[in-house]
Symmetry: C2
Subunit: 620 residues, 2 copies
Amino acid sequence: MDKQDMQYPGSRRIYVPGKLYPGIRVAMREISQSDSLFPDGSAESNAPVRVYDTSGPWGDAERSCDLQKGLPRLREPWIASREDVKQENDGGPLCAAREDAPPTQRAYALRGIITPEMEYVAIRENLGREEAFKAIYDQFPDRKSRPEGMQMLLDELGTGMPAPSELEKEEDFSPASLVARNDLRQGHPATFAKETQNNCPSFYTPEFVRDEVAAGRALIPANINHPEVEPMAIGRHFLCKINANIGNSAIASNIENEVLKLRRAIHWGADTVMDLSTGENIHQTREWILRNSPVPIGTVPMYHALERCGGDVRKLSWDIFRDTLIEQARQGVDYVTLHAGLLQRFVPFTVKRATGIVSRGGSIIAKWMLLHSEENFLYTQWDEICHILASYDVAVSIGDGLRPGSIADANDFPQLAELEVQGELTRRAWKRGVQVMNEGPGHVPLHLIPENMRRQLEWCYEAPFYTLGPLPTDIAPGYDHIGGAIGGALIAQRGCAMLCYVTRKEHLGLPDSEDVREAVVTFKLAAHAADLAKGHPAAQLRDNALSKARFEFRWEDQFNLSLDPQKAREYHDLTLPHSGAKKAHFCSMCGPDFCAMKLSTDLRAAFSSRPRTSTDNANV
Amino acid sequence: MDKQDMQYPGSRRIYVPGKLYPGIRVAMREISQSDSLFPDGSAESNAPVRVYDTSGPWGDAERSCDLQKGLPRLREPWIASREDVKQENDGGPLCAAREDAPPTQRAYALRGIITPEMEYVAIRENLGREEAFKAIYDQFPDRKSRPEGMQMLLDELGTGMPAPSELEKEEDFSPASLVARNDLRQGHPATFAKETQNNCPSFYTPEFVRDEVAAGRALIPANINHPEVEPMAIGRHFLCKINANIGNSAIASNIENEVLKLRRAIHWGADTVMDLSTGENIHQTREWILRNSPVPIGTVPMYHALERCGGDVRKLSWDIFRDTLIEQARQGVDYVTLHAGLLQRFVPFTVKRATGIVSRGGSIIAKWMLLHSEENFLYTQWDEICHILASYDVAVSIGDGLRPGSIADANDFPQLAELEVQGELTRRAWKRGVQVMNEGPGHVPLHLIPENMRRQLEWCYEAPFYTLGPLPTDIAPGYDHIGGAIGGALIAQRGCAMLCYVTRKEHLGLPDSEDVREAVVTFKLAAHAADLAKGHPAAQLRDNALSKARFEFRWEDQFNLSLDPQKAREYHDLTLPHSGAKKAHFCSMCGPDFCAMKLSTDLRAAFSSRPRTSTDNANV
């Protein structure tokens, strides 16, 4: 697969410069649109749409990337300029220069410092909204002169909410109707506040990012030894993020494949990628992935530690684990999953569960505790672990080793007991300057999902929540990505900050790259649905643009604005393959005589007072 | 595709007899399971699982079906025995014998009559739970002697809730833990009541079914001229149902294809099917579908009426429409979508919408009103329409012609204004004895979905709600089935009674039979997730059985209990194709050394006091 295969049609890479740090250039994708054409031959331009782009240099058609050389080291000058890190004794990777001042985004935020990473995040989260606002405003300073679509866009840019239709302001509609409608509209922000505790600000500033990181409500996973990473934030007051898992196992897969999976995952929109390799060449696989990844990379170091023991849990020890953790931290891993909340006393409670312990990391540590009759060393050595993590700004994702593996086990005692300990560990990690998030379930029926979110926010002091799905049923193997998207959208709407994707091969086999695509796009859909629901100020712009293109039969624009343009086009072509059909003012679903969109356009013409449509009245 | 292709592996058709009406035999599918095998060589049997079956005689391997002859006329004797219908003057179909006593399930229910249809529904909704309960109870009358899995099953059968683990009752666990857990458990029923207004009874009786139908909270679509139908109920206190749309259009498709789509749709689990044909041979296509369908068939008669006018909306009239409606009612259509709530005065409000009117039926009637400057004849002729419908027990699905076609238009004035009129029409139809449901959106962001459900329940007097999705975003063409499942699960949890499927070809092209499969299974997943969340007493049995099979590495059982066994098996085989892998105590995701399930089984053995596992302690 070469670079050309992973470009979006009708799109180009743009870079938005910083203000505090003019040197930073925030990567975005801009989707161009064709003009709206009207029956009288007139046209109206449609502003390009800027979307979040996770593909890094790989997604920039004008840059060449070399797998062997790795990506440019974007953050190197930022890290160096802070003068708080040094090369390690062996001349190897960077680490903290002073024990009392860890080089973590959290520590900087607590000292009131805005880092380039924070400004990068602020610009990125606005999705170029500021630019778009300015462009329209400059072009049409007088409200009256603005084309209708642009005014609508401007209203949305300004408030983050759909523009109240101009219609409401006209005089010929009953006050009762307007009250009813306005009532509903004005209800939205209150709804957000009450149901989701999840308001997004109307505009992202670097200060806002800093304050969220300082409060622990957000993290920016960015190891000082992973300068290739393009900064991103995980937190419930930001866009909902998604993670894709890759990694070889003893059964299948190889290194090239894994890097291809990485590229494919970030092309489709994965915000972070976890390398869950368990087979041979763990270190080397990870090195290739890190050097070629513009997104944060997470791992579960326990897998590597166990590999070092030849897979024999008995031989596992704190010393081996610590060495593994340090190795990964030095290498540049941005966050690690540690099942430190799984305590010895919880294990007996899992015995009569329907599905026991289903977390790999959790079951390894549980078995170790059983064999050694000792407390979980991840828990007992937590402070030292945090010290290691802080020295490299590795974030910790406190794992949920006792997550339910079936509907029958959802929200049971072992699960919730571990969550409480995750909260305690969160506080302790924060004190050491470590950035933290908490992992969550798992298999949970819909009505028990809000409980998970509520307790996590309460017990873990609003640290970001990062869930696997959740899956709202056990009976859908082959379709678990869809179940995961249902549960994921629901919990993200209520404040879950990142969703770990579930592929359709879950419970059945290893995902291939087509499964990765399907899963990433599916979870992007779920995350985006949640972003709309939690009122992210820029989320709806793309929906509005796509719907306008759809209504105006601009098929190419409709495809290009989609989450998966290739698939949209392919499905359209299956029924109407001729290129002329891309300009047809109908589609295959209803045919030309029954087209609701076409009839509706006729209606619009009939009611419109615009001169260009009056000639068409005879045809409605 | 022959009959053999549409059988489920490891399954057989069973028939459960009625009690009030011993002659009725309710069709179900029973999935057999293999024994659980333990390390000491002992075994434990696993009860077969009964699941809802929509495939009718087509799904009974022991019955032969002939497309040309149609299905057996199951309900013929029931209808005849009521002695309230006569053959029409031309010797054709049946119709009401007396004007004051329409032969509708609603009218019977209001008179206190329990029909065979109602008892059929009651038995069907219990999913054979009564039988399963009895079998276990008879086999192991003494609680102590019951195998653990069976006791758990029994507890669930009795209460509809997951059994509290035996573990909680043991003494060596802290009271605080137990309080926390019990608190959570006991919270469930209250949660249902408050959040969903949607409690399911712990057991379905024919009386309950009758009362729900009488109250208008449920309907049993069953035209007296569609005796082939196996009765089913649509209502929020029952299992959530799904509808699949089929139908040829001017662009593609043919009759044989449509019947195949019907068979495929009901094989995968569609509870009703709508024939939305708009091309030639509308009547004949419908005839083939009706005579071969064990599920209720719905239509949008406006499409046929317009076809009669050569596609010219100008020529449309009440007379033409009435004749079409009567033709379809006589033919046996079980429910019809009528866009009667779309009033003339609402149309101008749609002009400045982002996507105008996107309903085909809605745009046809809107255009007619515009051309004729007259009120919607479906509204003005409502009483006569209801009279026609009541004479054949055709249920009405009051359409939402102004449903939002984009996120920008969600919950706007035209949509809600029409919903209010739907409520008025509901009451008037009920007075005529007609069974009613209301159609709902469409494109709605997640945070506005509850509002839709709440207003529909309030304004339409708790008549069943039947939604198209809703889709929580516009940007996912190619994945709209997944968006629809997200919105669908959410609204079904809150009381939506039936979900109309959305295929991945939505907005792009016509679905083929593989798209139908994908969409039906996806919406089954969503509906099932909602059933779990609203506490349907039998919904979780299948999840529990599948999870137990998964935990015990009974791969074949795991596949067979899935919504789509073929796909589950196919995905498994892609990574581990050898038949030996079906018995392996690990899978491809983690490999033998990292298997959480296996480690967890070892843990269980270590903690268990059962003799058969004590010998394994050395191996954990």
